[in-house]
Point group: C2
Chain length 451, copies 2
Amino acid sequence: MPNKNLEEAKEKLKKHIIDESELSAADIASHLKILKTHDEDEYAKYLEKLDAHTLGEAAMEMPEHMLRDVIENIPNDKIAEAIDELESDDATDLIQTIEEIDEEKAKELFSSLEIDSQKEISKLINYEDNEAGAYMQTELFSARLDESLGSAIARFRIMKQENKIENVFSLFVVDNEGVLKHTIALEDLITYDFNLNLNQIVVEDEERFKPHFAIDSDDIKVVADIIMDYDLSAIAVTNRAGILLGRITTDDIHDFLKESATEQIYNLAGVNDEAEEEGLVKTGRARAAWLFVNLITAILGVIVIGFFEKSIESLVALAVLMPIVASMGGNAGNQTLAVTVRRLALGEIGIDDFWTVLKKEIIMAIFNSLIFAIFLGVLVGLWFDMPMLGVVIAVAMVANIIMAAFLGTFIPLTLKRIGLDPAVGSTVFLTTATDIIGFFVFLGLATWILL
Amino acid sequence: MPNKNLEEAKEKLKKHIIDESELSAADIASHLKILKTHDEDEYAKYLEKLDAHTLGEAAMEMPEHMLRDVIENIPNDKIAEAIDELESDDATDLIQTIEEIDEEKAKELFSSLEIDSQKEISKLINYEDNEAGAYMQTELFSARLDESLGSAIARFRIMKQENKIENVFSLFVVDNEGVLKHTIALEDLITYDFNLNLNQIVVEDEERFKPHFAIDSDDIKVVADIIMDYDLSAIAVTNRAGILLGRITTDDIHDFLKESATEQIYNLAGVNDEAEEEGLVKTGRARAAWLFVNLITAILGVIVIGFFEKSIESLVALAVLMPIVASMGGNAGNQTLAVTVRRLALGEIGIDDFWTVLKKEIIMAIFNSLIFAIFLGVLVGLWFDMPMLGVVIAVAMVANIIMAAFLGTFIPLTLKRIGLDPAVGSTVFLTTATDIIGFFVFLGLATWILL
């Protein structure tokens, strides 16, 4: 199997280099990765053979260890050329990633870039990770109101020939101060006479050409929502004064959607998504932090059990059975929690929907817990030959699953209401609560009724 | 607070209806939802006032209960008009959703649609949910090789005026049999002389105009990857013979990305994402299924504890402490599991990366578990005044956390290798294993060393 993969990877890369068959950057990076695993020499050879354009695009898709190979083995001027060829947002990302690997190298590369690239990157690098500006590229197709459509297109043709711009879906129209006034989608633009001036076009249907835009300091989440709500393929980005700075395209929104889903999945599992991108030490430390919180909360559960030491001594079956009650509560609660967190993130529910969600969850909890309670109660009653023990575990389980449904709704909605991320820490809070409630109700009832 | 929301919602809807300010469909649906909660009469009034176009778009964003209001209160011919105005993929979705609410009504509406819409929907409705065809719209801007660019654009202008098409980013060029031959992005198209015939344009740069396409029966996941890898804004869909059928646009990919993230989050929590969309009974039943699996596995854990009843009787501290070991293993394992499942989904790792991933996870598990083991061992030794009990719990915890790291890697990669979804059931398998291993190692060691 590995050899087949290796041969296929070599074949495809060779074909790409010789006749420029259009492999995607992601494909090239993954073929190179196979080569690296199986044949270091061939890997080095192909890495060197890539043209600057392909190298830049592929570098964007490479894991850190491969990027390290690139900066150690490829001459600076070729890497600089590769970065120059990237769109400004990608160039900025790449320089930042290289900076994390080798700060000195990043400086060297930066000073070898074209002056224009240096200027763009210097601007973009100052945005925070969650700001629209950080996702923006500065390459634009824009024109002033008094320009003719034909002249704007003639300029655009030259930009295209010089490979200065791609993925263009609209023309941004600005006034003499550079303030964004209108957006004309290419699909509208092609239906007009090219001899018309832009101001003659935009007066025809002000509503249609009203621009959607984001401010560079806007949260990218808000921008993503606008893009998705209006099915845009790109959105203009301006500063607070309305001056057009750049644009965000849907491929950036794809990345954002994937990143935010990863963040939710990781947060629910007590994993920090940013630390996970770092080295082993930082990743391990971030995971340990949540495990430590879990340890402390587990000790709380243990203290509750400790209250009932005497009961357990006189009826050891209690120790045997108590994990079932806790486990079922934890699982049922995690179901509710996952659904609530996700529906909040998708905007399907809001903090005002507490009662609606809770009602639904409680009804399901009552039904489901009753079924399991009857099943487990009968089983335990027969197994230990103690009908009342069956009753105790059944009641404890119903109580714990209903509480779990309440908490699975309450915890994320409350976190959201006080402005925190509904996914962060909610699993630990929930399972601590279902453990403590499960142990307490089961052992307490048993002590009261049986002993 | 609610009244402020209500007034704002009324204001915005009124403005939309009077001067057609461009609210997004999502905004309209959410304003209507606020109205429904606070003022049923106003809600009914605004629902009626929406024009057919807005109604259709907004209906796509409505939860089931509001869609029910629409089909019960708005005349059939207006709803049919609203459906006619939608793009074919959305029209199909809406008819299918209405069918789930009221089958009879869906039939009535379908027969009131324009013949063209009926034809398109009949075709699209046959695709499976995960097929590219189900995400495709049949509205296209296409032309034959021998047509002039100017003539194609003239036809397109009329389609636009008749509101037959929107969100167009490229012209699909077909041969006389309707087989897709080339794709010309609008950004390239505008740089050519409109008097040229298409075959004169495409010969200039065959590589640039080579079409990306999907087959209608392709898995949408594969199609989404192509769109994202090549940063496309739309992709052509053909049948197996290459005949052009429709196109998939990025807004469909946004939906797909959100849906697949939801699926992963839900699967990890033992929730079925499809059942969750259904009524209370189906949702509850699907959740109960996973809870039942969890119950059975919890009983397995209990059987293991049962082996050590005698040990617990002679040292009740074992019962008090055993949940800590299980809980820490479960949490550490879930961290590894979430990261592995997500990185598999993003394509960052594949089934061949087992050893690489495992090595990293095991190293972190050794470090983290040692720290917690020392902390907890000392605490327990002092607390119960039994140093050897501290040693036992420390060793058990290290063993369980390392096993958890192994299983958190092994379970999802193995599920993937045998062609199953790595997220489905993996949490239950994992926590069962960490419970059983935790109980067994802790109680076994204690029995062997202390008793």
